[in-house]
Amino acid sequence: MNRFAELLDRLGYEPGRNNKLRLMTDYFRTTPDPERGFALAALAGGLSFANAKPGLIRALIAERTDPVLFGLSYDYVGDLSETVALLWPSPAESHARAEPTGFDGDLDLVEPRPVARGHNRPPPSLAEVIESLQVSHRSDLPGLLARWLDGLDETGRWALLKLITGSLRIGVSARLAKSAVAALGELDPNDIEEVWHGLEPPYESLFAWVEGRGPRPEATDPAPFRPPMLAHPIDDSDFDSLDPAEMTAEWKWDGIRVQVVGGTRPDGRRVQRLYSRTGEDISNSFPDLVEAIDFDGAIDGELLILREGRVQSFNVLQQRLNRQSVSPRMLVEFPAHVRAYDLLHWGEEDLRPLPFCDRRERLEAMLAAAGNPRFDISPLIPFRTWEELAAARANPGEAGAGVDAAAVEGCMIKRADSPYVPGRPKGLWWKWKHDPHVIDAVLMYAQRGHGKRSSFYSDYTFGVWRDGPAGEELVPVGKAYFGFTDAELAELDRFVRRNTINRFGPVREVTHEPDRGLVLEIAFEGLNRSTRHKSGVAMRFPRVSRIRWDKPPAEADRMEILEKLLRREAELDESAES
C-alpha cells in the first residue's frame, strides 16, 4: 500500500501526461501481482466503497487527538483526509529519534508520540485493503480502518483515506492508466480496451499477456467496449486531394459520442451497456436509454436530448449530464436519444472490417427493422462537389437538418470504403467544424502554468468592457491557456512580467487600461449562462487565436456582444424546444 500511495502522491503533483504515464508504467513494471492489479483498478476508477464516510474518519481522529489541536490543524491544512493522515498517532512511525545528549531524563514522558500498542503491525497491502472492504460489514469498518492507519506511513494514510472516500483527484483517466499497462509490452492502448471489459481486478491474465507470459485474455463479456474511430480536422488544402465521389458526408451532432452495446450471456441473460468514447460505463446515468437496448450489437452514435422529435442544444444536454442521480422527473424532461453513425457489431459478426457504406446499409436495415424510438440514424448529406457541401454546412437547416440545425456543429466526411479502425487513423475520416466565435478581449490576469510551463505565465484571464457604476470597466469573461506557439508564449510571458501591477500568490494582475494593455483575440465554441463567473457567462473551449499587439484595449469588444450571442443561443434552444 505504501508504494501505491507514493505513486498516487507523485501523480497528483505531476502535470504532464507523458510523465504520468512513465510513473505508472514504472510502478506496474516493478510491482508484483496482485498488488499492481488492484492499483490499476483504483487508478481506472473501477472501485467504490459504500460504507466509508467522512463522519467515520472524524470520529476515529476525535478519539485520538486534542480537539483544540485538531481544530487548529484542520484550519491550517484545509483537507480532512490529509489532516487526519498527518495527525494520526501511528505506532509504525514512532521510530527512535536522536537521543538527547547531555540529559539523563525520563523519556517515557515524551508525548504525543504514542507508545506502541502491542507490536508494530506491517502495513496492509492494497490487495488486503480492497478485498477486506468489499466483504466487511459496516460495523467492522472503524476497527479495520484504525488498524490499517496504524500500520501505514503518512502518505499511505493519506492515500487510504482518499481511496475509501472516493476522491483520488490525481488527474489520471482510465484511458491513461490502461495506456500505462500497454506500454509495459509495447501494445496499443486500444488492445487493452478490447479485452478490458471481460476482466476483473487484479487483472493477472492481462499483465501476463502484456508481458508476453500468457495468451490474450478471452473477451468473455457479451457487451464489451470497442475503442472508437476518430476523425482528423480537415484542412483547406485537403480538399484538393479528396474526390467527392469517394466520400460520404453527415452532420456532426453536438452531443456526446457514445457506444450502445447489447449482448446475451451464455445463460440467456441480457446485458445492456452505454459507454462514453473513453470506455467509461455510463449506463447508470441513462437508464431510459439502456432499457431500450433490445438487440445484440454495438452502435456508435451521438447521445442527444430529444423533445417531441427535436434535438435540444448542448446546453440542455448538459443539464442532465451534470446530475449525479437520475430522478424520474429528469427522465421525463430530458429524454435521452441516440443518433446512430455506425454499426460495429451485429449478433456474432464483427462488422468493423467492412467498408463504411456496407456497415451503413446494415445500420439502416437494423434500425428500420427495430422501429425503436430511442434510436434513429444520422442522415447523410447529399453533395456532388465540395462547394455544395460547404453550402450545406453553412446552412444545415436548409440542407436536411431542418429544425435540428441548432444542434449541428459541422459535418463529418468519411471515405465510403473506410473500415472502422480504432484510434485516429490517417486518410479515412475528417471533421469539418463550424467556425468558432471570436472576440477581442483584454488581458487582465496571468497565472503560472505547470510542468514545462511552470516558470511561464501561461494561463490568461481576459475581460471585455461594460458600463460599470463608475464608468467603463473590464469584467473578466474567461480564461485561456493554449492556442499560442512557444515563441508567442515567451512574448506573452515577457509582457506579463513587464506590466505587472499586482501579485496574488501565483497570479499577477496586468495593466489593463483603455490606452495601455494587451488585446487577445479569443476563439470559443459556445456560451452558457453561469453563476460561477462575475460576468454571468461561461465560454466553451476558449483559446487564444491571435495576439493583437496592434490594438489598443479601448477597442476591444464589449459585454453586449456576448449578451447578444447568449440570447441568440437561448433563442435557438427555445425554437428547438417549442
Binding site: E6, D9, R10, G12, Y13, E14, P15, G16, N19, R22, L23, D26, T65, D66, V68, L69, L72, S73, Y76, V77, G78, D79, E82, T83, L86, L87, E93, H95, R97, A98, P100, T101, G102, F103, G105, L107, L109, V110, E111, P112, R113, D153, E154, W158, R448, H450, G451, K452, S454, S455, F456, R503, G505, P506
Partner: protein, 353 residues
Amino acid sequence: MRPSDLLTMTPSGLYCPQADAHIDPVRPVRRALITHGHSDHARAGHGAVLATDETLGIMAVRYGPDFAGATQAVRYGERVDLNGVTVSYHPAGHVLGSAQIALQCGGVRIVASGDYKRARDPTCAPFELVPCDVFITEATFGLPVFRHPDTRHEVDRLLASVRVFPDRAHIVGAYALGKAQRLMALIREAGYEEPIYVHGAMERLTQFYQDQGVQLGEIRKVQAAERPKLGGAIVICPPSATQDLWARKFPDPVTAFASGWMRVRARARQKGVELPLVVSDHSDWDDLCATILQTGAGEVWVTHGQEDALVHWCVTRGIRAQPLHMLGYGDEGEVEPETNVLAGEAAPAEAAT
C-alpha cells in the same frame, strides 16, 4: 531574580539588561549574542558580536569582514561572564555553527534555543539538551500536522525520480545556508556519486562548509550555457530560482523543493512544486514537545511560528507558557512559501550572497 528581569523584550529583540546584550537583535545594537548565521538572526552593523567561530565565518561570507565593530568567538560549552551573567553556547543542530544561548544569573537559567532540530544532520553538531528554568522555543512547525519523516526516505524519493526520468533535470529548491549543504551530504550518504550542480547564489556558502571540513563530494557551479545539457542532473538552487527564468533552460525540469512546509500538499501545490521533499532544519511537532519536556523548564516562551498550538499543549501539560511576538524573524530559512516567492522575486538579496 525573576526570569523576566534577566531577559526582557525590546523593539530590537530579546535583551538582557544586566549583561547589556541582545540575542539575535533585528537592528544594530551595542552588543549582540548571535545564535546562528541565517540573515533574520544574524544582521550586520552591531558594535560587538559574540558567536561561534562558524557563525562569525558565515557572517563574514555574507556581509564582508567588517560586519561588526568587534567579534569574539565562543566554543560550545565555554562559559563567558558578562557583568555577572554567565553566558554559554550549546549546539542547536540547526545549521553549521548554530547554538542555543544559555544565560544564568542569580540561580535562574534561561535557554534561548534560536532555531533547532533534533533530527540527524551530517553537516553540523547535534542538538545538546540544556536543563533550564525557562526555555525559549521556536514554533516554526508548531502544529501537530508537522511531523518530519526520515530524511533518508525523502532523498530516496529524489533519487528514484532521477532514475525514472533520466532525461529531465531535477531542480531542487533549498535555502542557501544549511539546507542546501545538508541535502548534498544526505544525497552522498545515499550513494549518489555524480557531480551535484549548484546555483551561483550558494557557491560561496557551500565552499565555506567544505573549508570547514564538511564532505560534500564534487560540487559544480551551473554554467549558463550548459543548462540544456543537464538532463538527469541534480541541481540545487535557492527556492525562488526554481520558478525563475533561470530554471527554464534545463531539459523538462522536475521542480523539487526541500522544506518542512512540503508536508502539506496544498502548500507544495501553491508553489508549483512537482516533487516536494520534506526535509527541515527545524524541529517538528513531536520534537518540539519532547524537547520542552526534556529541558524540565517550568516556563516556556514560544516565538516565531505557530505559537497558539504549542502554548495550548504546554498548558495542558501544566507548563506555564506564553507567546513572545517577536517581529522580524522568519525572513530566511523556512518562512511560509508564498511570502518567500514574492520576497525572492522582488529583492534577490539572498541570491547575491
